[in-house]
């Protein structure tokens, strides 16, 4: 095992021979993956391939059948403060009695005991996280009155406020319009560049983040592939992974996978 030192920072995420089973079914087996600080990993694959389960495993919510996961040089435990999480979008009820900044505050110190008292440092950290997603002017607005896209940006601020060294995102761009997709991916990318945080993004469509992605993890049919997008997203490579012919097309700069079993459309 490599001992992290100042000269060689620990990988943001490291999976070694990791196997995940769910209800007796193997989702993926012998997964080896190393994500350097500041790297952006897109996790692709059909529904039920174990993409979200991978995030759950890194969060310590889903034990592995075998193998090991380490994040930022330490083994996984539940409730790591240095791992940020952005869930799939679920809208807040219109009547939720919480302001935008209160959601962000929960990301900062919501796990600690006691009621929590206001302080200058706390306020500044929350403002900075809201600034990052362009939501500072909506800081005191009731959360339920924010648009879906604004709520998702609030979630990004919530995840960034604790300055995580590893950011896990589960379909953060789902059902957002282009402008909000842009705002969300820019905020995530900005944080990555400034703090060298690793990013793992589960997505069904790589195109909105294609320019940011360093590595792709493609999960399908109990098997997996890891590599740069140009190596993985190719007709012969994915056909081999699926065990049946699929086409990877480049349509005006967008990558489209056509014909995988149980899924069609974008990767």
């Amino acid at each position: 095992m490599v001992i992290p030192s100042a000269g060689s920072p620990a990988p943001a995420l490291e999976l070694s021979a990791a196997t995940l089973e769910l209800g007796g079914r193997v989702l993926w087996r012998d997964l080896d993956l190393r994500l350097a600080p500041g790297e952006f990993l897109a996790v692709l694959g059909p529904n039920g391939a174990g993409k979200s389960s991978l995030l759950r495993a890194v969060l310590g919510q889903q034990p592995l059948a075998s193998g090991a996961v380490r994040a930022l040089g330490r083994p996984i435990t539940r409730g790591r403060e240095d791992i940020g999480y952005i869930p799939q979008q679920r809208l807040f009820d219109r009547d939720t009695a919480l302001r935008t900044r209160d959601l962000v505050a929960l990301g900062l110190d919501g796990t600690r005991f006691g009621p929590g008292w206001p302080s200058r440092g706390r306020r500044q950290a929350i403002d900075a996280a809201l600034e990052r997603t362009g939501l500072l002017d909506r800081s005191r607005a009731p959360l339920g009155l924010l648009s879906g896209g604004e709520q998702q940006r609030a979630r990004i601020s919530q995840a960034l406020v604790s300055a995580p060294g590893l950011l896990l995102c589960d379909e953060p761009l789902l059902s957002l319009d282009l402008a909000h997709q842009r705002a969300v991916s820019d905020a995530i990318d900005g944080h990555r560049r400034e703090t060298s945080a690793g990013v793992v993004m589960v997505t069904h469509d790589i195109n909105p983040v294609l320019g940011l992605v360093d590595k792709v993890l493609y999960l399908a049919a109990g098997r997996h592939l890891v590599g740069p997008p140009t190596d993985v997203l190719r007709t012969e490579v994915l056909s081999d992974l699926y065990g049946t012919h699929v086409d990877v097309l480049n349509v005006h700069g967008r990558i489209v996978v056509v014909g995988p079993p149980s899924e069609s459309g974008s990767p």
């Binding site: 919480l98 302001r99 648009s147």
Partner: protein, 291 residues
């Protein structure tokens, strides 16, 4: 007609010998004030966790426990505490998902109420003891009882203060809270137990049928007019205090249980907040929000 109205007024509000009554019933007023604080704070989380129906379910089992204690000559407060905590545990352990929880409550509640009525029917003592458990009573707070009520209230307040942030996190944003290591399941059961304690205390003054006016209405009213947590919590406590203490003060001289006074003040506050809140959040906001 005028006579009839004057007579009704005299029954509802009677301020003769008010000073002496105040002195005599200061324990009730103190208990009411403490209960107001507890109700306002617990209600904040009841609303965030969407547990209004659970409050009702717990109070009916609490009532069953209290009437069993009455029948068997045990301590009534202990009986209501036992009933409450049992209900809270049942709801917490059997009902993890909201839909499942509501059906558990719907099953448990009438069973509890039925048991309570059975015990009361068998009870041969004073009728006002029976009626008081359902509708509340002002004189029920004698000093030994008061000590228990204050102790239980203190336990609830301290536990809420300690658990405040993780409980809020788990209540409004369960998935992310769980991802960040907040023990959401344990907190869910812990809060139901606290709710059980608060309910058991409240039924001795307000009665099993009307505890919702303390544990739901003030917080619901506050949430219509504010969204900042410190403001919502302060308003919720203020409303609950106003309803409890105001209700007791109005009811002092009358021969009617205090609960109608408390529930009416509580309801009027809610009505006012809805009117103010309707201006604050225009209906058009929904269009802006829709996907």
């Amino acid at each position: 007609m005028a006579d009839w109205i004057a007579q009704l007024w005299g029954t509802l509000f009677n301020f003769d010998d008010y000073g002496a009554l105040l002195l005599l019933l200061r324990n009730s007023i103190l208990a009411g004030a403490v209960l107001g604080v507890v109700g306002g704070l617990v209600g904040y989380f009841v609303m965030h966790r969407d547990l209004a129906f659970a409050v009702h379910g717990i109070s009916e089992l609490s009532f069953a426990g209290a009437s069993a204690a009455l029948l068997f000559g045990a301590n009534v407060v202990v009986g209501s505490l036992a009933g409450s905590l049992l209900a809270a545990l049942l709801i917490g352990v059997l009902g993890t998902r909201a839909r499942e929880r509501n059906s558990v409550i719907g099953v448990v509640m009438p069973f509890g109420l039925g048991l309570g009525i059975l015990f009361l029917a068998l009870y041969q003592g004073r009728a006002s003891n029976k009626f008081g458990l359902l509708t509340g009573q002002i004189v029920a707070v004698d000093s030994p009882e008061l000590v228990v009520l204050l102790t239980v209230s203190a336990v609830v307040l301290v536990a809420l203060a300690v658990l405040w942030r993780p409980l809020l996190f788990a209540s409004v944003d369960e998935d992310v809270a769980a991802a960040r290591g907040v023990p959401v399941r344990a907190l869910s059961i812990a809060f139901l137990l606290l709710l059980g304690l608060a309910t058991a205390v409240a039924i001795h003054i307000l009665g099993a049928l009307l505890v919702l006016s303390l544990l739901v209405t003030p917080a619901a009213a506050a949430m219509r007019v504010a969204s900042s947590p410190p403001v919502v919590v302060s308003l919720s406590v203020l409303f609950a205090l106003t309803a409890m203490v105001g209700g007791i003060l109005l009811a002092l001289g009358a021969s009617i249980p205090i609960s109608p006074y408390v529930t009416t003040i509580s309801f009027l506050l809610y009505l006012g907040c809805r009117i103010v809140g309707a201006r604050r959040r225009p209906r058009g906001a929904r269009l802006h929000w829709a996907r």
